[in-house]
Amino acid sequence: MIKDKVKTGVPGLDEMLDGGLIPGRVYAVSGTSGTGKTTLAMQFLLEGVKSGERVLYIALDEPPNEVRLNMKSYGWDVGRVQVFDATPDVMSYDRTPVRDVSTERKVVYFRDLPDTVRLTSEKSPADMTVNTIQELVRQEMKVRKYSRIVVDSLTSLRFFYIRTSEENASLISFLRLLSDIGVTSLLTVHLPEVSRPDVEIHMARGEIRLHKWYDGRGLIRGITVEKYRGSSHDHRLRMIKITSTGVVVKSPPAEKKTRTADDQHGAEDRVPDSEELPPPPDDVVQEPVHQPPPDRQDQIPPAPPGAGQNGTEGGT
């Protein structure tokens, strides 16, 4: 069983996932901005490249030339990852007809990308919708058999590629296609700072969530497996580090010993959370407000109602 699973390429994460991801399914990587979603997703793809698989990165947020440059800061060569530039064009705001883009943009290797951003055609900006991307993936899968696909990000897909209400259904159909073609896919999902249940995440077979918060000493990063259908998994919050070689999950026992008294609050609050909750699917729907546990209220004033909504409230 375990040896059939797909390795994520993130040190320590496979262990949390009881060996890795079940192949051929759709997973979500969620987190607020700056938590390392794209980095984790790229590690997943590079792991595939390492074992000679075909992998595809669908860029919706950032121009792929920037992604390639960013990954260079980890010392990674993403040249053999195939990429589809699905980033939207600048809108022209006049009534010139838009082209259907699916015939014009091609999947290429990252190494074949130009250094500069693709410019919007002055005459006719391209129109891209969920349907276009879905069609592209379908055609691509016929030509090349991908084993891993990353969609970065699903949030952009929902925000910018859906114009009409009918197209809401096509988002579901897109996710359905990904699982039908038997590719293991990771979709990145941006979360607001106070997380709310997200529709897309329900459709994924598993969710890996990245966290960051401050404790008394500085920024802490963590990772949880919020749900994972069909597999046992680690329910605890684990600490992660984004190092010069990417995302690394730290092992829990060593972690506890090195922490100071001040440090532990951050971790301890979270752990009971995940343990009390039954396994999926319910635990993705979290209460947005986490009260600090009672034993800490003498040290830290509980956040006043609405604190941080506009950030202007004073402390004591």
Partner: protein
């Protein structure tokens, strides 16, 4: 070709570049967020001023304040901001046509175009132009301006106001997407000033931008405390610690080596606890 990852753009704020691993990566849009009075506009002006000092062209897109006021405000700091060009999209600039001594661009453009039209066309155009101080129209104005002059630094102050001025809710998200895309394609390094985001909302500019610098201002133990965090920075290692910031007669200064007071750290801790 120069290496974009190591050859960084200085923000002009002492100490902030160190937090950013040397500065900003050129040619990308960034967000500066913070509450009212946190120092966002000042950070923007300092960023532009730094560019002007290095002989670059710098453009301030003024939505919140009329340029004359901005000039007054920064004159108190003794900076020579005369070389910073201003695109005045302040709503009132459509209503009256007053020259200020800062190099003002494009403010008169639409007004001038209106005068040359016939009466009927003018009414029609008025209908289009008057409520049209929006994200869309900003993109169009910026495009015109960037075609004529090549800038290396642009500050939009602020996107929050633009969003409020934009009527159509649905177009807002795609308008922001398009604006950020436009900026990326032109290759300018841009700072987009926004209010502190509603933590329950997912603001498109925050996940589309390549980095976010957040300015914090809080009363902690009846003392006003200021600090700065780098929330994200794509393609670069950065300081994840909050660092103390001061606003003085020389502008913003960040101390990248000091920690913020324990009480302020607790406030931040309590807040992120809540947010989680």
């Amino acid at each position: 070709m120069r290496d974009l990852l190591t050859d960084r753009i200085s923000t002009g704020i002492p100490g902030l570049d160190a937090m950013l691993g040397g500065g900003l990566i050129a040619g990308r849009p960034y967000v500066v967020s913070g509450t009212t009075g946190a120092g966002k506009t000042m950070l923007g002006i300092q960023f532009l001023h730094q560019g002007v000092k290095q002989g670059e062209r710098a453009l301030l897109v003024a939505v919140d304040e009329p340029p004359s006021e901005i000039r007054e405000n920064v004159r108190a700091l003794g900076w020579d901001v005369g070389k910073i060009r201003i695109l005045d999209v302040h709503p009132a600039s459509k209503a009256f046509n007053k020259r200020v001594s800062l190099v003002e661009v494009a403010a008169q453009r639409s007004v001038g175009a209106l005068r040359e039209m016939g009466a009927g066309a003018r009414d029609e155009a008025m209908k289009q132009v008057m409520p049209d101080i929006s994200i869309q129209s900003l993109q169009l104005m910026l495009k015109q301006e960037l075609q004529e002059t090549s800038y290396s630094r642009v500050v939009v102050d602020s996107l929050t106001s633009l969003k409020k001025l934009s009527e159509n809710q649905e177009d807002k998200a795609s308008g922001i997407m398009s604006l950020l895309r436009f900026i990326a394609e032109t290759g300018v390094t841009a700072l987009i000033v926004t209010d502190l985001p509603d933590p329950t909302e997912l603001e498109p500019e925050l996940f589309l931008c390549r980095g976010e610098i957040r300015l914090h201002k809080r009363m902690v133990s009846s003392r006003l405390d200021r600090w700065v965090t780098v929330e994200k920075l794509r393609g670069s290692a950065h300081d994840t610690m909050p660092r103390p910031m001061t606003i003085s007669e020389v502008g913003l200064t960040v101390d990248p080596d000091r920690k913020i007071p324990k009480n302020s750290m607790r406030v931040l801790q309590a807040f992120t606890q809540f947010a989680r």
